[in-house]
C-alpha cells in the first residue's frame, strides 16, 4: 500500500480513490485510538467520520511532502475534545428542586458491557480497558498514543498539542495509575469503573 503522504497528495489532486486508500490505511488505528478515548465504539465511529470530514474540508491546508498522519490524529484529538465539551455542556435538569443532582449528558453514556472488546485475551484485555477507562483523559491519551499506538513521545506531544516533557509526565503518571489499578482484584476494578460510569464521570 502506498505511503500516507503520497495518498494525501493524490487526494489533493482530486483522486477520490486515494482518499479511500488513505482511509483504509489510517482509519483502523485512528478508530482504535478514538475507541479507547471515547470508550464506546459507536461514539468513536461518529468521531472518526467527523474527523475525516474535517480532513476533507481542510485538505487545502495540507503541506505537500509532509506526513499527514500526525495532522489527522491532531484533528481527531481536537474533534474528541470539542465533542466531549459539547456533550458535557448539554446539561439536563431533571428536577426544579435542588434535591437531585444535575445529570450531565455523557459522551460515554452506555453501560459497561456495551464497550468495544478486542478479541485477544478477553479477560486481560477487558481488565486493561476498564483500568484505562478510569484514567483522566490526558493520561489515557498519553498511554494510548505512546504504549498502544506505538507513537514516539514527540509525535504524541504534537498530536495532543503539548510539550514533550508534559507528554512524558502524563504517560508516566498514566502508566503508574494503570499499574495500581491492575494490581487490584479484577472485580474491584470493574466495580469501580461501573460506579464511575453511573456517576457520569468522564
Amino acid at each position: 500500500m502506498a505511503e500516507a503522504k503520497e495518498l494525501m497528495a493524490r487526494y489533493c489532486d482530486g483522486e477520490a480513490s486515494a482518499f479511500r486508500e488513505l482511509y483504509a490505511l489510517v482509519a483502523p488505528r485512528l478508530l482504535g485510538y478514538l475507541t479507547k478515548m471515547a470508550r464506546q465504539r459507536a461514539v468513536a465511529e461518529d468521531l472518526l467520520q467527523l474527523t475525516f470530514m474535517k480532513v476533507h474540508r481542510a485538505r487545502a491546508a495540507y503541506v505537500r511532502g509532509a506526513d499527514p498522519v500526525p495532522w489527522i490524529y491532531s484533528i481527531a484529538h481536537r474533534t474528541f475534545i470539542d465533542e466531549t465539551r459539547r456533550v458535557k455542556r448539554g446539561v439536563v435538569r431533571i428536577s426544579d428542586s435542588d434535591e437531585l443532582p444535575e445529570q450531565r449528558a455523557d459522551l460515554h453514556g452506555e453501560a459497561d458491557h456495551s464497550r468495544d472488546e478486542p478479541r485477544a485475551d478477553p479477560e486481560l484485555v477487558k481488565a486493561t480497558l476498564d483500568a484505562l477507562a478510569e484514567l483522566p483523559d490526558q493520561q489515557r491519551e498519553a498511554v494510548v498514543l505512546t504504549k498502544l499506538d506505538g507513537r514516539s513521545v514527540a509525535e504524541a506531544a504534537e498530536i495532543a498539542g503539548t510539550t514533550v516533557g508534559a507528554m512524558k509526565v502524563r504517560a508516566h503518571r498514566g502508566y503508574e495509575a494503570l499499574r495500581q489499578l491492575l494490581g487490584r482484584p479484577p472485580a474491584r476494578t470493574a466495580a469501580a469503573a461501573t460506579t464511575k460510569a453511573a456517576r457520569g464521570a468522564p
Partner: protein, 232 residues
C-alpha cells in the same frame, strides 16, 4: 496479570475494522476537485510583502516623524530593525511548520509572542531619546496616545487577516498561540510604522502605547482568529 501484559495484549490486538464512509463523505468524494495545497514559505513571502507595502503606504500617508532628522541614526535604524524582526519571526513560526509537518510551530510561536510583548514594552519604557522637536505627553496626557494605538492596530490588521486566510484548517492544535503570533507580528509592524511616524517620545507613550500595540494585537488575534481558521 500486570499492566505490561495488559498493554501488550491490547497493543497486539488487531485494530478494529472502520465503518464504511458516511453518506456525506461519499457525496463529497463524488464531486471531488483538485485543491491548491498550502505552500508555507510562499505564503510567508506574500504576507510579508503585502504587509510591508501596506506599512510603507501608511507611513507615506501619515508622514515621517518631525524629529526624524534630529534623532541618532544608529538608534533609529537599530530599533527599526528590531521592530522588523519582531514582525518577521512570529509570522515565520506561525506560518511555516518544521520540515515534514503540517501544523505550524505553535510552541515557538508562543515563545516569540511572549518575548516580543515583554521586549518591546520594556525597551520603549527604558530607551526613548528626546530631541527638541520631540513631544512628551507623560502620564498626565497619556490618554492622548490612543491615536497611535489605533494606527498600530490598523496596521496589524492586514498581516493578521492574510495569515488567518492562509491558515484555515491548518490549526487543529495550538491555534491560540499561532493566532497570537500573527497578532504580535502585525503589532510589531504597527510598532515599526509608529516608530517612523510618531514624534511623541516619552517612556510611557513609547513603551505602553507603541509596545502595547503588540500585546493588544496578540490578545485580540488570539481571541478572534482561531474561530476564523477552524474547519467544522
Amino acid at each position: 496479570m500486570t499492566e505490561r501484559d495488559g498493554l501488550a495484549e491490547l497493543a497486539a490486538a488487531p485494530p478494529p475494522a472502520p465503518p464504511p464512509l458516511s453518506a456525506d463523505l461519499e457525496a463529497q468524494l463524488g464531486t471531488l476537485s483538485p485543491v491548491t495545497t498550502r505552500r508555507p514559505l510562499r505564503q510567508l513571502a506574500i504576507l510579508v510583502v503585502v504587509s510591508l507595502i501596506y506599512g510603507v503606504g501608511l507611513i507615506a500617508l501619515l508622514t515621517f516623524r518631525d524629529d526624524m532628522l534630529e534623532l541618532p541614526r544608529f538608534w533609529l535604524a537599530i530599533v527599526a530593525i528590531g521592530w522588523l524582526f519582531g514582525f518577521l519571526v512570529p509570522c515565520y513560526f506561525a506560518l511555516v511548520p518544521r520540515a515534514g509537518a503540517v501544523t505550524p510551530r505553535w510552541r515557538l510561536a508562543g515563545i516569540a509572542v511572549v518575548i516580543a510583548s515583554i521586549g518591546f514594552v520594556t525597551l520603549g519604557l527604558a530607551i526613548h531619546p528626546m530631541r527638541p522637536s520631540s513631544v512628551s505627553y507623560g502620564w498626565e496626557h497619556f490618554g492622548r496616545g490612543h491615536t497611535c494605538l489605533e494606527i498600530g492596530l490598523a496596521t496589524a490588521l492586514v498581516p493578521v487577516v492574510i495569515g488567518a486566510i492562509f491558515l484555515r484548517g491548518a490549526l487543529p492544535i495550538g491555534s491560540r498561540w499561532v493566532a497570537a503570533a500573527l497578532g504580535a507580528g502585525g503589532g510589531c509592524l504597527g510598532g515599526l510604522v509608529l516608530h517612523l511616524h510618531c514624534h511623541v517620545a516619552d517612556g510611557p507613550h513609547v513603551g505602553l502605547i507603541h509596545g502595547g500595540v503588540v500585546v493588544i494585537s496578540a490578545l485580540l488575534s488570539a481571541a478572534i482568529v482561531p474561530r476564523a481558521t477552524d474547519v467544522r
